[in-house]
C-alpha cells in the first residue's frame, strides 16, 4: 500500500535540482513521440495506400487525379480515424490508471478497480448475446452503436453501485471500494459467464474478440463522443494534481494540507469512470495500458502528478497507436486484436523495468 509513499520522499529529494528542467524535456520528447507514432501508424497498413500521397493531395501539391479514390478512402476513412481513436483511448486509459493509482495509493490499481471494465464487459456481453432478441428496441434505436451504448451503460451502472456501496455519510472509504470492487467484478463476471453459456458459437467468437479489444470500428462519430468525454475529464486534471500529490502522504496528511479529500475522490471516480467507460465502449477490452504507462513514467520522471498525468496521456496515446499499427500489419491482410499486442509488448518490458529498478519501487 505504502509503495508510492516510500518512493515519494527519496525521489523528491534526489531529483530536486533536476525538477525544473526534466519535466519540460520529458513532455517535449513525448509530444515528438506522439507525432512520430501517429506518422508511423498512418503510413503502415495492409494496403500500399500512401499517406504521403494523400497529404500531397490535401495540401494541393499534387494534381487531383494523382491519387486513387480507394487510397484516399483507406487513409481518410480507415487509418486516420483509427490513429485519432488510438490517441484518445490510450490517453484516457493511461491517465485513468495514473489517477486510480494515486487515489488508491496502490501500484496495482488500474481503471478496472472502479468496476467500469467488468460492468462494461457485462453490458457488451448482454448486447452481443441478447441483442438480437430481448434488446430489440435498443438495437433498433442505436443500430451498431447499441454495443458501445450498452458497454458504457454497464460501466456507469457498476461505478454508481460501487460508489454508493463505499460511501457513508459523505465519506468514501477507499478500502471498502477496493474490496467491493472485487466483489462486484466477480458478480459481473458471473453474469457474463451466464451470457457466455447462453451464447451460440458465433456470439462466443464475438465476445472473445471484443474482450481482446480493437480500434477497428473507428468512426468520426465515436471519436467525437470520446473526445468530448476525454477533453472534459482532462480539464479537471490540473486541479487534481496537487491533491493527488498530497494524498500520497495519506488522507489525514492531505486533509491537513488543505485538500478537500472527499471532493478529490469523487472527481477522480467520476472522470475515471467516464473515460474508461467511453474507451472500453468504443474499443473493447484493451488491458495493460492503464497499469504500465503510469509506472514506466513514475520510474522515469518520479511521482509528481503535475507531470505524470499529462505525460501518461501522451505516452498512452503514442503506445496504443503504435500497438495498433503492429496489430494491423503483422498478420495482414488479417488483423490481430490490439489487446494481444499491448500485453505481449507491454508485459515483458514492464518486467524488465521492474527487475532493473526493483530497489526504487521497494516491492
Amino acid at each position: 500500500m505504502a509503495a508510492t509513499t516510500v518512493v515519494e520522499e527519496p525521489a523528491m529529494q534526489a531529483a530536486k535540482p533536476l525538477r525544473a528542467a526534466v519535466p519540460q524535456m520529458v513532455i517535449a520528447a513525448l509530444i515528438v513521440g506522439v507525432v512520430v507514432a501517429a506518422g508511423i501508424s498512418l503510413t503502415a497498413g495492409a494496403s500500399n495506400a500512401s499517406a504521403f500521397a494523400v497529404a500531397m493531395h490535401w495540401t494541393g501539391l499534387a494534381p487531383a487525379d494523382a491519387i486513387l479514390p480507394r487510397d484516399l478512402l483507406i487513409i481518410e476513412a480507415i487509418r486516420l480515424p483509427r490513429v485519432v481513436l488510438g490517441l484518445l483511448v490510450g490517453a484516457a486509459l493511461a491517465v485513468s490508471g495514473a489517477v486510480m493509482q494515486g487515489i488508491f495509493r496502490n501500484p496495482l490499481a488500474d481503471p478496472g478497480l472502479a468496476g467500469v471494465s467488468a460492468g462494461a464487459g457485462l453490458g457488451a456481453a448482454a448486447m452481443i448475446v441478447l441483442g438480437g432478441s430481448l434488446a430489440l428496441p435498443l438495437t433498433g434505436a442505436f443500430g451498431y452503436a447499441a454495443l458501445p451504448v450498452a458497454a458504457f451503460g454497464g460501466g456507469l451502472f457498476t461505478t454508481i453501485v460501487l460508489y454508493s456501496l463505499s460511501t457513508r455519510l459523505g465519506r468514501t472509504s477507499i478500502a471498502t471500494m477496493l474490496l467491493a470492487g472485487i466483489a462486484l467484478g466477480a458478480l459481473s463476471g458471473a453474469a457474463t459467464g451466464l451470457l457466455v453459456y447462453m451464447a451460440d458459437d458465433k456470439q462466443l467468437r464475438d465476445l472473445t474478440f471484443w474482450g481482446m479489444g480493437s480500434l477497428g470500428g473507428a468512426t468520426w462519430q465515436k471519436i467525437a463522443t470520446l473526445a468530448v468525454v476525454v477533453t472534459a475529464s482532462f480539464c479537471a486534471l490540473p486541479f487534481m494534481s496537487r491533491g493527488l500529490n498530497a494524498l500520497a502522504l495519506g488522507e489525514a496528511a492531505a486533509w491537513h494540507m488543505g485538500i478537500s479529500v472527499e471532493r478529490l475522490k469523487r472527481t477522480a471516480i467520476v472522470i475515471v469512470a467516464a473515460m474508461t467507460g467511453a474507451s472500453v465502449a468504443v474499443s473493447g477490452g484493451i488491458g495493460f495500458v492503464g497499469i504500465v504507462v503510469p509506472h514506466v513514467l513514475r520510474l522515469a520522471i518520479g511521482p509528481d502528478h503535475r507531470v505524470l498525468l499529462p505525460a501518461s496521456a501522451l505516452l498512452g496515446g503514442a503506445l496504443l497507436v503504435l500497438a495498433d499499427a503492429v496489430a494491423r500489419t503483422v498478420a495482414a491482410p488479417a488483423e490481430l486484436p490490439i489487446g494481444i499486442v499491448t500485453a505481449l509488448a507491454g508485459a515483458p518490458f514492464f518486467l524488465w523495468l521492474l527487475l532493473r529498478r526493483r530497489s526504487i519501487l521497494d516491492l
Binding site: I78, D201, D206, G216, R328
Partner: protein
C-alpha cells in the same frame, strides 16, 4: 444544372440499388475478376465451379481445397479488417451470411466494392441455394445450374440412402472435450444438420447451439457413437482420452469404443462436398469399424 443533379442522383440511387438488390446481375455483366471469398463453403463452391482463377483472397475458415490456403487470408469471418480486404483490390466480395463485423462491412461498402451475401443454412435446400447464389454472383449460371443439379441429386441420394435404417443411431457431437467438460452440438447447428441428414439422431437436438453439457446429461442421453472433428487446436484430444472421460465411458458409445472423427470443414461446411460427407458419416456411424481402419 438541376437536371444534371437529378439525373446524377437517380444514377447514384440506381447504383446503390444495384449493389443491394441485383448485385448478382450487375456482377454478371461486369464479370468480377478480383474476388475475395469469405466463408469456407463459399470458397469451396467457387473452386467447384472452376472459377478459382478469379479469387484473390479468402477468410481463415476457407481451408478447402488445399490450394485455397495459398490465397491471402483476411482473418476470421466475423473479425475482418476492412483495409486488409481492400489491400487485395477486390472488385467483388462474396460473403457468407453472418460475416462481419458490421463497421468493417460499412467501410467496404463505402469503398464501393460490391458485396454479395450468400445465405447460410444447414440443410439440403440451403446448399443448393448457396451454389445458385454464388453462381449468379460470378455470372456463371450455366455452370452453377449444372453443379447445383448434381449436388441436389447427390444429396437426395445420400439422404435417401441414409434414411433406410429402422433403428436410428444416437450420436453425440463433441466440439471440444475441454478438460473433460464436453462442448456438445445441440439443435440448429451444422452438426445437428449433418447428423440428421446421415439418418441418425442427435442426442442433444433439444439444446440450442454448441453448449457445455454436464456429465450426467451425457450419460442420460446414452449416445451410441461419439462424433468429433479431426485436427487442430483443442480438438486434439486422442480417441482413447475422449472415450476414457467419466461421462463417456459409461455410455453405450464408451463401452463399445465407438468414436467417429471427420474433418471439420468436410463434416460441417455445408458445401459441394456435403453429399459425400453424409455417405461417409452414415457408413462410419453404422459400420462396426472405426473409419480409416
Amino acid at each position: 444544372m438541376r437536371r444534371f443533379a437529378r439525373a446524377f442522383s437517380i444514377w447514384v440511387a440506381a447504383c446503390v440499388m444495384g449493389v443491394f438488390v441485383s448485385a448478382p446481375a450487375m456482377a454478371a455483366e461486369v464479370k468480377a475478376s478480383r474476388i475475395v471469398a469469405i466463408g469456407g463453403s463459399v470458397t469451396e463452391i467457387v473452386y467447384a465451379l472452376g472459377e478459382e482463377g478469379r479469387l484473390v483472397g479468402r477468410d481463415s475458415t476457407s481451408v478447402y481445397p488445399p490450394e485455397a490456403l495459398k490465397l491471402p487470408d483476411t482473418g476470421y469471418i466475423r473479425a475482418l479488417s476492412p483495409e486488409g480486404v481492400l489491400s487485395l483490390n477486390p472488385d467483388l466480395i462474396l460473403m457468407l451470411d453472418g460475416a462481419g463485423p458490421p463497421p468493417a462491412l460499412d467501410a467496404l461498402k463505402a469503398a464501393g466494392v460490391p458485396i454479395v451475401t450468400i445465405p447460410e443454412g444447414f440443410d439440403h435446400k440451403a446448399i443448393v441455394n448457396k451454389i445458385d447464389a454464388v453462381g449468379a454472383a460470378l455470372g456463371v449460371q450455366e455452370k452453377s445450374k449444372a453443379l447445383a443439379a448434381k449436388v441436389d441429386a447427390a444429396l437426395g441420394k445420400a439422404v435417401a440412402l441414409s434414411a433406410t435404417k429402422d433403428r436410428k443411431s444416437r450420436v453425440l457431437f463433441v466440439l471440444s472435450p475441454r478438460e473433460g467438460r464436453l462442448m456438445a452440438g445441440g439443435g440448429h447447428t451444422q452438426a445437428d444438420g449433418i447428423i440428421t441428414m446421415a439418418g441418425a439422431e442427435n442426442v442433444f437436438s433439444g439444446v440450442e447451439g454448441y453448449k457445455p453439457i454436464s456429465d450426467e446429461a451425457v450419460i442420460a442421453a446414452a449416445p451410441d457413437v461419439i462424433l468429433m472433428m479431426t485436427g487442430a487446436g483443442d480438438h486434439a484430444a486422442s480417441d482413447d482420452e475422449v472415450l476414457a472421460l467419466p461421462a463417456i465411458a459409461e455410455t453405450p458409445a464408451g463401452k463399445a469404443n465407438r468414436i467417429v472423427r471427420m474433418d471439420g470443414m468436410y463434416l460441417l461446411g455445408f458445401g459441394p462436398r456435403t453429399a459425400d460427407a453424409i455417405v461417409a458419416l452414415h457408413e462410419a456411424l453404422y459400420s462396426n469399424r472405426k473409419p480409416g481402419e
